[in-house]
């Protein structure tokens, strides 16, 4: 077997933007609008499942409704649908455009790998691990599944090291360190790959995302305390407004100074709004929402670029997450207001 299996599963033709982008736009027009979410919010879980089964999620709901019921059915269906959609997207993107799409999809690889490693680290069973995998990503899903079958934590890392993107891994390190490294390398590699397009919207989006990750983690560290050697592990380089030095000084500022300085960035107003709250829950939710809204706004662009595709990738993800928030929230009896506020519409 070819060891570097990455993206070899796809035979991609040339990118035909007029085809790709009209198709993606048509796909995008099939996504739910805000009034549908209002309806969903007023439905019971099984009603939601039925409703989804009457629209775009028909195939998944019908095939999975023999195995699952209720909220499980919904979550499995939407994940399956998301995977299917992304796969379709890559197949129709062609060589040039799929480079970007893959860059986004690699996140699911990272998720899957981290899940496998966590499971192996704490010696969970194969079924337990498989339950946490999502069949989306640049790596073929069969490879991820084969990782589950490998015996130990170190062996899995050794196997991963044979793949080019993961050669930096070190099997002697602990799970938390490996997780951080995977994350940091993901962003580092993408920023390197697209170095030439430093001003492009895509890179801007990624760098905004890095900022948001960093801010979230700084807030967490400020709240829960941190060790100096941990500090560096928890920050990602390459943010749009905040670099590492900025971040580590921010980490140590007293509250007033912190607020004053953060207000100079676009994230300031969000942080200020949630400053007094006891939990970071809603702050994180708002930051996430901000990022998604940014992407939705920014990725509307030239029809002869990758932007419509990226826009769709994000929009589809948002839709799936919205549905999940509604159905899960309904299942665990959250107030409609809380669910509604967390939706990205």
């Amino acid at each position: 077997m070819d060891l570097n299996v990455v993206s070899s599963e796809y035979w991609l033709g040339e990118t035909n933007y007029s085809y790709l982008n009209t198709r993606v736009r048509a796909m995008e027009s099939n996504l739910f609008r805000s009034d549908v979410y209002m309806k969903l919010l007023n439905m019971e879980v099984s009603q939601i499942a039925r409703f989804l089964g009457e629209g775009n999620y028909k195939e998944e709901i019908e095939s999975l409704s023999r195995e699952y019921r209720g909220v499980e059915l919904i979550e499995h269906s939407i994940n399956k649908n998301l995977g299917k959609t992304y796969n379709k997207l890559i197949k129709m993107s062609g060589k040039k455009a799929s480079k970007y799409a893959f860059a986004i999809l690699t996140r699911w690889d990272i998720h899957n790998i981290i899940s496998v490693l966590r499971g192996k680290y704490s010696k969970a069973t194969a079924e337990e691990i498989e339950r946490t995998l999502i069949p989306i990503g640049e790596l073929p899903f069969s490879l991820i599944q084969s990782l589950v079958k490998i015996y130990g934590y170190e062996d899995v890392i050794k196997r991963l090291k044979k793949i080019e993107q993961f050669d930096f891994l070190d099997e002697t390190k602990g799970i938390a360190d490996i997780e951080s490294e995977l994350f940091k390398m993901y962003y580092k590699k993408i920023l390197e790959t697209f170095k030439k397009e430093n001003k492009s919207l895509f890179i801007q989006f990624l760098r905004t995302e890095i900022d948001i990750i960093n801010i979230k983690n700084i807030m967490r560290m400020r709240r829960y305390g941190f060790a100096i050697e941990e500090e560096e592990k928890n920050m990602v380089e390459g943010g749009l407004f905040l670099n590492i030095e900025n971040l580590s000084s921010l980490l140590r500022e007293p509250e007033k100074e912190f607020l004053k300085r953060i207000k100079k960035t676009p994230y300031g107003s969000i942080i200020e709004k949630h400053w007094q709250e006891k939990t970071l829950f809603y702050l994180e939710e708002s930051l996430e929402k901000y990022l998604m809204e940014c992407a939705k706004e920014q990725f509307i662009g030239d029809p002869f670029t990758i932007m419509p595709v990226l826009h769709y990738i994000i929009s589809k993800k948002i839709e799936v997450e919205n549905i999940r928030k509604i159905s899960r929230g309904k299942a665990s009896n959250l107030e409609i207001k809380i669910i509604e506020d967390s939706l990205v519409i």
């Binding site: 209002m38 007023n42 019971e44």
Partner: protein
């Protein structure tokens, strides 16, 4: 011209205790096109579903998964079922059916996987040579020999399962139908606006049904419900229900593909009914092709019975009649000059063929452009009426009248060469008036539009050009066969016939598509732009 059903926008306000009853009534009447609730605020919020919608949904999910897995569709099931009311018993029956089917399919799957394993063992080949113990070999042999038994068992299970499915499918379909419509009723409040104690339904109903609905509601609920007509803006999409005579009906499809007309707009279906087949016939114009298309569409009508297919085939049928008629004028039969072949030179004193498309392309071009002028004029006239109806006469003259005058002026000027000089002066005068009107109406930018309308009219040249290419291909096929293939004799005669058949089938398909598309394009791009805005929606009454 028939006028379509006039719609009127209504609001229905009632107290919440009669919401269920109201929904029942609306559902059974099947006249209201509900406008879904959109914006939510403190006082007005979206309604909540009624009743046991959760249980019903669960049931429906189960049924639909069975229906989809075994591909049960209404057209496949012949048995007639009696309508039964929903009850706990039925609910139990659905789950029981689901479980039985699940059990059967699990068993079948298991046997299949065992069979697969047996096949794998078999494919390893002769095992006696590796030196395995005799006992083991014999046990493997018995395993292998059990294959046919297992297969039989699997087939039996499959048969049993199929018979269960067959027995239940009618009932499942009926139940699905029933549940869907129940759920539609239960979920209707999701489309309503509600306040604390009341609910509001917004929607459209045919104007002549308004009083009827009002009476029914008053009789049943008295003062607890109030039905009112409300005003609506011009921008709002109004549902349209066509009321065309049957022959015109298929042409509604062409509007459906484009956009439905607004209420105050002229409905162009009738005009399309006349011009579309005409254009189609001019372009294709061949007796043979026309006959093939006519009979093919008659035949296909018996096979494809969906609404869309019926309409398309209907359009083709009309168009093929025109094709045959123009075939007589052009004297074409599968590309052959039929009158020359039959030796007919004159019919009723007309020289036959009246127009030979290859030779007389100039007259046809002039004819095409004239048709274009007339068609565009028709469009502009419709536009004039539309603007007059929605605004006023002045606006109509400035926006559309100016163009009409412009076109007439050009006609006069052009025809002056053949008739008399007075036409030239008269035409020039008209031209001047129209130009002034244009500048007043739309400014100097309006003058640039003149090129647009010119190219619109020239675009009708395609009536000639598409026909020319179609007949060109037909002639090429024919001459290849008659001049090159047939003279060689022998087996080549057979080859010649097959070339003829395949070639003409290809050309017919191409002709159907090209003529259809270009006729359509002439309507959408050249004709509709002169008057048609669209923006109506399809009338979908609640309950259907």
């Amino acid at each position: 011209m028939s006028s379509n059903e006039r719609m009127t926008k209504i609001t229905l306000v009632g107290t919440k205790d009669i919401m269920k009853g109201t929904i029942e009534i609306l559902h059974s009447l099947k006249i209201i096109h509900i406008i879904d609730f959109k914006e939510q605020d403190e006082t007005f919020e979206i309604g909540k579903s009624l009743g046991e919608v959760s249980i019903f949904s669960e049931l429906l999910l189960s049924i639909r998964s069975i229906l989809s897995k075994f591909d049960i569709r209404p057209d496949k099931v012949k048995t007639i079922y009696i309508k039964r009311e929903v009850s706990r018993e039925l609910e139990k029956e659905v789950y029981e059916t689901e479980n039985t089917i699940k059990m059967y399919s699990e068993k079948i799957e298991k046997i299949s996987s065992i069979l697969k394993e047996i096949d794998r063992i078999k494919s390893i080949g002769e095992i006696t040579e590796i030196g395995i113990e005799k006992k083991l070999i014999s046990s493997i042999d018995t395993l292998l020999s059990s294959k046919s038994r297992l297969e039989k068992q699997r087939d039996k299970l499959r048969e049993e399962m199929d018979s269960i499915i067959k027995e239940k499918s009618a009932y499942l379909l009926q139940y699905e139908d029933f549940l869907s419509s129940e759920i539609e009723k239960m979920e209707a409040p999701l489309r309503f606006t509600t306040t604390k104690n009341t609910f509001i339904v917004e929607g459209w109903i045919p104007e002549n049904k308004f009083q009827e609905l009002k009476n029914i509601l008053k009789k049943k609920f008295g003062d607890r419900v109030n039905l009112d007509k409300i005003k609506y803006s011009d921008e709002e999409p109004v549902p349209v229900e066509f009321k065309h005579p049957t022959p015109v009906k298929p042409f509604e499809l062409l509007l459906e593909l484009f956009e439905y007309p607004k209420t105050r707009e002229i409905d162009p279906t009738f005009a399309i009914f006349i011009t579309f087949p005409l254009f189609y016939g001019i372009m294709l114009g061949d007796i043979g092709y026309g006959l093939v298309i006519f009979f093919a569409s008659l035949f296909m009508k018996t096979k494809f019975k969906t609404e869309g297919w019926k309409m398309i085939l209907g359009i083709l049928e009309y168009s093929s009649l025109y094709t045959i008629a123009f075939g007589f004028i052009d004297g074409e039969f599968f590309g052959f000059d039929i009158f020359a072949l039959l030796g007919i030179e004159e019919i009723f004193g007309f020289k036959m063929p009246i127009l030979n498309r290859i030779v007389d392309f100039m007259p046809i071009m002039v004819l095409s452009i004239s048709i274009g002028v007339l068609h565009v004029l028709l469009g502009l006239t419709f536009g004039f009426i539309n603007v007059y109806r929605s605004h006023n006469l002045k606006e109509a003259i400035l926006k559309k009248g100016a163009w009409i005058i412009l076109i007439f002026s050009i006609i006069f000027i052009a025809s002056s060469v053949y008739i008399s000089n007075i036409f030239l002066y008269f035409g020039s005068g008209l031209l001047l008036i129209s130009l002034i009107l244009l500048v007043v109406g739309e400014g100097f930018i309006g003058l640039i539009e003149i090129f647009g309308i010119m190219s619109n009219i020239l675009s009708y040249v395609r009536l000639m050009a598409i026909g020319l290419s179609s007949v060109g291909i037909a002639i090429v096929i024919n001459s290849i066969v008659t001049d090159i293939v047939f003279p060689k004799g022998g087996i080549f005669v057979l080859l010649g016939y097959s070339i003829l058949i395949l070639g003409h089938i290809g050309n017919i398909l191409l002709g159907i598509l090209a003529s259809f598309l270009h006729a359509l394009r002439l309507h959408y791009v050249e004709f509709f732009t002169k008057f048609y805005e669209g923006g109506g929606i399809k009338y979908k009454p609640f309950g259907i």
